[in-house]
Structure formats: C-alpha cells, structure tokens
C-alpha cells in the first residue's frame, strides 16, 4: 500500500518530468488507482515503481492511462439522454450550425451516442462533435469507432429507454467480437488531446458534455474547469454533467438555470 508522502513524490515527478498535473485530483481515488497499478504490474517496491515512471516514457503512457478512469458506456442514464432529445436538441435545432464539446470523452461511447441522437433528430449534417481527452491512447480507440460487442445488448436496452425507436444494431456492423459504428458518424467528429487541468478554451459551443469527469477533481480544480466551460459556452448554451455532479459548490451557479430533475444547466447570463 502506498504511503501519503509517496503519492506526493509521484505527483511531483509526473509534473516535473512530464508536465502532467494531478495535484488537484481527488486524492482518495488517486491513491486507490496507484495501489491498483502497483499490484497489476507487480512492482516489488515503491522505489521501483517510481524509477520506472521517471525513466520509461512508454511506461508513463500506460501509467497515466491506468491512473485516469476510462470507464464509459453508451446511453448511460437513459433518462438523461431522453432529456437531451426532448429539451436540448429540440432547442438547438433552430441554429444554423451546432457545436458540441465532449470534454474528457475517454473511448468515445458518449460521442457516438450523441451522434445517434443528432442523426435521429436530423441534425447531424449541421453538427460538429469535438471530443477531447488528456490520454492519446483512448482517443485513438474513440477515433476508430470500434467497440467490444459484449455490452451492445445492454446499450441497446438503454438506447430504447432513452426514446430510441430504431433497431440499434442498424448503426454498426459486427465482426469477431467487435462492432464498428457507421463511418459517416465519425466524419462529424474531431478528436484531439486537451487537458482540463492546464489547457484553455478553444472554441464556442452550444452544448458541453462532461459527465463523470469532475468527480475526479478537488473543488479548486472543479472551479477552474467550470470557468473554462463558462468561457467556452455561447449565450444560452447547455452544460451537461454526471448523475451525481453538481454546480452547487461553484460560484457560477447563479448564472445557470437547471433543467427540471436533470443534470443539464443552461447559461442564462
């Protein structure tokens, strides 16, 4: 088990040697992740784990990928997607062009879920989905639009619960235990690395999706990211967070209005 001061040493190394700043991540969660990697990769001591990270850039990529949580699914919380369909996309439909940012998109399951919503609302042709993550590896997976076949049955159920009326499997082709989503969906997506800790706003968006990313940050970093989102949202733009995330600790709260019962806020000033 890693000691508190050893966590500090690793975080300092990551910042000094590679410029990755995890010092404002949730400490309890980080500690658990580091213990997990330590056990998975069978390091006999902390010193050896630390040496490997400092000296091996290839290992660093694996370490950062394991340190950050990349668990995601399609149509998670179907009621949330239902609200996107009925409330948000309905409103955005009037715009000549729709820009959506998936911040911390991981392997892209939510980006493809959104593409399906836009397609069914007949809006995909005038939309652009920007998908960013700090991990180049997960973005590579997202860019390919190839996912494991195993969870598709559950995704299909969530899709139906979100108000989907088509045959979910019509959106992908299955082969050898994997599925590949329609390539015309991927044409509307732009994937790029972006670190919410250190990088700046890069466009103006109508909707920002950032679900279950802020839970990994402490309150100070959450505030920084909220400000970044605020700068990146156009007037009356929407911000969507995870089921247990909230603006209640943020100074921005008065400037946003929450949709009834949903983790979707609209910028009102």
């Amino acid at each position: 088990m890693i000691e508190e001061n050893e966590v500090d040493l690793l975080l300092t190394d990551l910042l000094d040697v590679y410029g990755y700043d995890f010092t404002h991540y949730s400490r309890a969660s980080l500690k658990r992740r580091i213990n997990r990697i330590w056990a998975l990769d069978k390091f006999p001591s902390f010193a050896e784990l630390r040496y490997r990270i400092r000296s091996d850039a290839d290992y660093l990529r694996r370490f950062v990928e394991e340190l950050t949580v990349n668990v995601t699914e399609m149509f998670r919380d179907p009621q949330f997607y239902k609200a996107l369909r009925t409330e948000v996309l309905h409103t955005l439909a009037a715009k000549p062009f729709i820009r959506i940012w998936h911040a911390g998109c991981s392997t892209g399951e939510e980006v493809f879920s959104m593409a399906i919503l836009l397609h069914e609302a007949n809006l995909l042709h005038k939309s652009l989905l920007y998908a960013t993550d700090l991990n180049p590896e997960v973005l590579e997976t997202a860019r390919k639009g190839i996912f494991s076949l195993a969870p598709m049955k559950q995704y299909s159920e969530s899709y139906i619960l979100s108000g989907g009326i088509y045959d979910f499997s019509s959106y992908y082709t299955a082969q050898y235990g994997y599925v590949k989503f329609r390539t015309d969906f991927a044409e509307k997506m732009v994937f790029s690395t972006h670190n919410l800790v250190s990088d700046r706003s890069f466009n103006e968006f109508d909707l920002i999706m950032c679900r279950n990313v802020l839970i990994y940050f402490d309150k100070a970093l959450q505030q920084r990211v909220m400000n970044l989102f605020d700068e990146s949202l156009g007037p009356l733009g929407y911000l969507a967070l995870g089921a247990k995330e909230t603006l209640k600790f943020s100074s921005l709260q008065p400037r946003f209005k929450q949709l009834d019962g949903e983790k979707i806020w609209r910028k009102i000033s």
């Binding site: 400490r27 949580v69 279950n212 839970i215 089921a243 600790f249």
Partner: protein, 196 residues
Amino acid sequence: MAKNKLTPACEAVVIGGSTGSIEVLLSLLPHLPASLSFALIIVVHRKNTADSTLANLLSLKTNSPLYEVDDKDGIKPGNIYLAPADYHLLIEKNRVFALDDSEKINYSRPSIDVTFESAADVYGPALVGILLSGANADGSLGMTAIKKAGGTLVVQQPETAQVGFMPQQAILTNDVDYVLDVSGLIAFLNSLNSVY
C-alpha cells in the same frame, strides 16, 4: 462499553450489505437516536439506476437527516449518508466524499471494500465497520483494512441474516470484535452515541 473507553470516540460508522440488508436497515434505523454523535455511512449493493427510491424509503424510517451522496458533499456527525447507485464512494482526508465510477469490484459498484478501505485510511481507530447480510465476499478486505487501522469490526450474526455468506466471510477472514443479531446491533449503535 468498556472497549470504547480505551479507543477514541467513534467518528464514523460504515455499514455495508447486500441481499437481505435493506430489511435489517429498515428495522435498525427507527431505533437510533435522532441526534447521532457520529456520521453513519451506508453502502448497499443495488440495481444500477439513478433513482432515489432507496434513499426515500430509508429516510422514512429515521429522524436523522439522510442524504444520497453528491460529489464533494461534506461529512457531518448526526447525518446518515447513502452511497449512490453505480458509483464507488470514497472519503477524503478533509472529510468530504469523493465519487468514482471506475471498474466494478466483486461485480459491484458501489463496492463495500472500496468505501471501507478509504474510511479506514481517514478515520483510523475512530471508525466502526458493520457488515450485514449478503451473498458475496465484498466487505471482507475492507474489514481487514479497518482492523489494521485500529477500528472496530461488527458483523451481523450469520444465522440471523437472510443470506449469511457475506458476514460469514468477514468472520472467517478477520478478527471480528462483535457478532450481533439485529437487537444487538441496535444496542451497540446506541452505546456508541456519546451524549454531549
């Protein structure tokens, strides 16, 4: 209880359970004082839905404020907290909750082990861990962590549990301090409550 004179006053109680544990909670909660001197943190396995039916059900049975945890909620004595469905529940050193949606552990999210280990890290000897009815081995490693940090272990008497496997596992793998039936659990929790 004599033991509590030797150890620091209880700051938090974590309760874990799976199949058959909701019934135990429903009979326990009405018998606790309305002003608890510790925070009561509940982690039970349940379906992956974001609805708050369980929180509503439990809050009907207690006069203490009961919350389903939102990210970064502060932990206060006197309150009862319920781990939300589909997230692991962790605790930061500054006594705020942190949620985590990483991989399931023992097919479970929330995982009892995750919360117990994290709570042991923060509260040390001022923590009591209670494990109730359930059909898998989640919680046993968490109990080990609590014991190692100096905390107190309590397990529902397996014969009185709807499913005895989870408490039984904890007894087999840990040096448990108390094995109690429901009325014993009620008496124990009341004995923890120090009067200001």
